[in-house]
């Protein structure tokens, strides 16, 4: 059931939030042993929120469409009094005394939190395999990954263990798992949603997003959680302008297709997207191929900037004030070294090392500074492109969901899964993954739609138009 459908039923008293919530909690009990999307299931909080939502709905007051709707939150978003682990041993027992601004908003709207969902440790990864609590499996094929880092979010929506989920996206962490699990994944413009309470991976790239069953749901949730926040100086005061125009189609759109984004992409993925472009043509949009050769520089620039910021952001996890502290300490030095060595997993350590190196005296100019130049160039190229195109369409990831353990010892090959998504974070653009078909193994394929900063309106219109017109048969995962 989508948010809209469920909201209608709740408002018409066909069903109560407590009933729906209990139903979802049962689904989680039945399915999550196989999928492992949840790190923490918050049954008590969910039922309390559902009760409160029912009272609100019964009072007849004007409620948000999210009121009473059960959902989940990625476990790197702070939820007051609910464990927030970042899928790391170092925060394994961390209970924040505050909530992220976005969660305050959603909670205030009457959202029912079913639990906190899995991710790659500190959102660093493309598969949730780096989670301290184990991998989240793909509902379409339990031998495969759900993608990452918001793998828990994507899998729980795909397997109908939540109506929608909140994820975060630093280099593709909402869009890539959404693509792997056949759901819609939206990363809004940098600054659209407050990052306050989102445990930082890379501050200049992080942005919270939505994983939902369809474009309309995603737009609706985004509209409820976005906006200016005095606790986040990077947020802006732009009105939500995308809800009314959502179904206006894209007849007058010019869609740009950068050919470099289709290099080294699996044929099944390419074919699905080319087919989608035909659908757009049939809807009256104009398709134009163009060249954007910055793509090959964007990925290394992303990893340098992302790791550099991460090396600083993750330094606060030192075993002094909260979180994991090694038992075996003799002095301050060993407190730091052992708590961090034992508390972080291998991928997190790798990125901290990379980032520390890139910022070091003598290497700064060659790596970090150069990466910033690439970043400026990437933005400039997008600016140019958006002077011609309403939206740009690319693949989300070069392949569909890969097997658990595949390329385990080749991190660079792993990093390639983000080749089409990282440039968007460097430029701070809004982008979304929309399901556009399946490969030969019946695994979902996602198409990426991007727009210029704060033009979520165009992105959602293009997404909704395709969704309405798409003629491929939906496959539901058998869990």
């Amino acid at each position: 059931m989508t948010i809209q459908e469920l909201s209608n039923k709740l408002n018409n008293k066909e069903i109560s939030s407590v009933e729906v919530t209990k139903d979802y909690l049962e689904k989680i009990k039945g399915k999550d042993e196989k999928v492992h999307a949840y790190i923490t299931v918050t049954e008590e909080e969910a039922l309390a929120a559902a009760n409160a939502a029912d009272e609100k709905l019964a009072s007849g007051e004007n409620v948000s469409p999210l009121c009473g709707v059960p959902m989940s939150v990625k476990d790197n978003i702070c939820t007051k009094s609910i464990k927030t682990t970042c899928a790391s041993k170092i925060l394994g027992n961390f209970i924040p005394p505050y909530s992220a601004t976005l969660w305050n908003k959603l909670e205030g709207a009457g959202s029912v939190i079913l639990g906190k969902v899995n991710l790659d440790e500190f959102a660093m990864g493309v598969s949730t395999e780096t989670s301290y609590f184990g991998v989240t499996k793909n509902p379409y094929d339990l031998g495969r990954v759900s993608g990452g880092s918001s793998g828990g979010s994507a899998a729980c929506v795909a397997a109908d263990m939540a109506v929608y989920s909140i994820g975060t996206d630093t280099g593709g962490s909402v869009r890539q798992p959404a693509s792997y699990c056949g759901v819609v994944g939206v990363k809004p413009t940098y600054g659209r949603v407050s990052r306050y309470g989102l445990v930082a991976y890379a501050s200049s790239l992080d942005q919270a997003g939505v994983l939902a069953q369809n474009v309309g749901d995603a737009a609706l949730v985004l509209s409820e959680m976005s906006g200016l926040d005095s606790y986040d100086s990077t947020t802006v005061d732009y009105a939500v302008d995308y809800m009314d125009d959502l179904n206006k189609g894209c007849k007058d759109f010019t869609i740009g297709v950068p050919k470099e984004y289709f290099e080294n992409i699996d044929n099944d993925v390419k074919d699905a997207i080319y087919k989608a472009l035909k659908t757009y043509e049939s809807l009256g949009a104009k398709i134009e191929e163009f060249s954007m050769d910055t793509v090959k520089y964007a990925l290394p620039a992303y990893y340098i900037i992302g790791c550099a910021e991460a090396s600083s952001n993750l330094a606060m996890f030192d075993g002094v004030r909260y979180g994991f502290r090694s038992e075996d300490i003799t002095d301050l030095d060993s407190l730091y070294k052992k708590s961090r060595s034992e508390g972080f997993g291998a991928e997190v350590k790798r990125r901290i090392m990379l980032g520390t190196y890139a910022l070091s005296a003598g290497y700064y100019d060659a790596y970090y500074k150069k990466a910033l130049k690439v970043r400026t160039l990437v933005s400039k190229k997008f600016d140019e492109a958006f002077s011609k195109y309403d939206v740009i369409i690319t693949p989300v990831s070069p392949s569909t969901a890969f097997e658990i353990g595949e390329n385990e010892n080749d991190p660079v090959k792993r990093y390639m899964a983000d080749i089409c998504t990282t440039p968007i974070n460097l430029a701070g653009l809004p982008a979304m993954s929309v399901p556009c078909g399946y490969d030969s193994k019946n695994l979902p394929i996602g198409m990426q739609i991007l727009a210029k900063p704060f033009n979520e309106k165009a992105m959602f219109r293009a997404g909704a138009a395709f969704e309405a017109a798409a003629d491929f048969a939906k496959i539901q995962p058998e869990i």
Binding site: P96, R195, T234, E309, S312, A315, D318, V320, Y322, S360
Partner: protein, 476 residues
Amino acid sequence: MNYEKVIGLEVHAELSTNTKAYCSCKNEFGSPVNTNCCPICMGFPGILPTLNREVVNYAIKAGLALNCKIRQFSKQDRKNYFYPDLGKAYQITQYDLPLCYEGYLDIMVDGVERRIGITRIHIEEDTGKLLHDITDGSLLDFNRAGVPLIEVVTEPDIRSSREAEVFLETVRSILQYIEVSDGKMQEGSIRCDVNVSIREEGDTKFGTRCEMKNVNTFSGAVRAIEYEAKRQQEVIENGGVIDQETRRWDDAANQNFLMRSKENSNDYRYFPEANVMPIVVDDAWIESIAKTIPELPHVKMRRYIEKMDLPEYDAGIITSSQSFSRYFEEVVDCGANPKEVSNWCMGEISRLLKETEKSYDEIPVTPKKLAKLIALIDKKTVSVSAGKKVFTKMFETDEDPEKLIKEMGLSQMNDEGAILAMVTETVAANPQSVEDYKNGRDRALGFLVGQIMKKSAGKANPKMVSDMVKDALEKA
């Protein structure tokens, strides 16, 4: 061989804003441990800093007062290092684009004016405090974490510990005047790092410098500079070479110790802080702050010396505090002679403030009443020494001096006949003194004057007494 010292200073001053730099916690010294802190200044996961606009206002004000240019586009950066009192494990500071730059300060050192270049002033945040020796381990107090600071960095223009001391004192009083820092050394509001090198006199090339940390008093700065220059001189004279080092000043031991050599220096991995926006300042903003800057102490001091004829030392003391100089000027504005007012400020007022442990803004005698007392002394209604007694009483009660003079019976006796009678009587009663005076012993004059003053209970006009005694002795 004669050596010249080359000194550069980095002065850290806590800004006296109401709230901290990046969160809304109170910026207050002396609160109970860990009561002025929150997840933001303690460095909790997911927190974000938001810059307090007042911090920028204060820093611009300091920059203008120190003749700096104000950068219209500056940014904030992270300085990364691990220490328990630094919750986030990075300090937000400004690296390559400080808010204020290229300034200077003219200081007056023993009658000579010296211009000290200011390289830059940037904003940053303070750390928390480690409390040792309370339990087996160490405890942390985050009240100070995130308190806004400015760091004033000078050019290596200072040539003696005395110059350094005057510079520090002048900077402190300027910051107090413009009300951006309370400048309380004992509360750690101002601290400094000192860079010292030496070179042969006449040499134009700089020697290798060493930086001393942990200098927390101005007198400590003087001793630290002298110690370090002597240490370097000894190394050189023993045929050694100065290594670029960071040394820790130990004030109690009155010496410094090696902290780290250049090879082991921290790599702070500065990079831009993405969570706060660049600081963009326009002319109107700068202008609105410039308007609020009062006459600064070193300018005031020069005016007192040149226009009011005050000695440099007195002018320095009075202008060191804005309240003191305001008081001084208010008394002068009531018509009193500046030099006389200065004498009262330097003498009785300073003495009584010290005795009663009051500060310059707590002088209990209103300027108008002091001016009145000075006028009464000028008119010889009361003698200077009796006037001091009256002032001591005024300091307790702030009563009218004229009324007090009457009540205390301290009106000066100016009656020529009455004084002459006493003089005649006293001279007659002390023939030995007359004899001594004639034999050239001037002390006899003083003795006789003293006797008469005593007789008059201190009320006789001393000048008249002295003149008449002299006259009587000459005639005797």
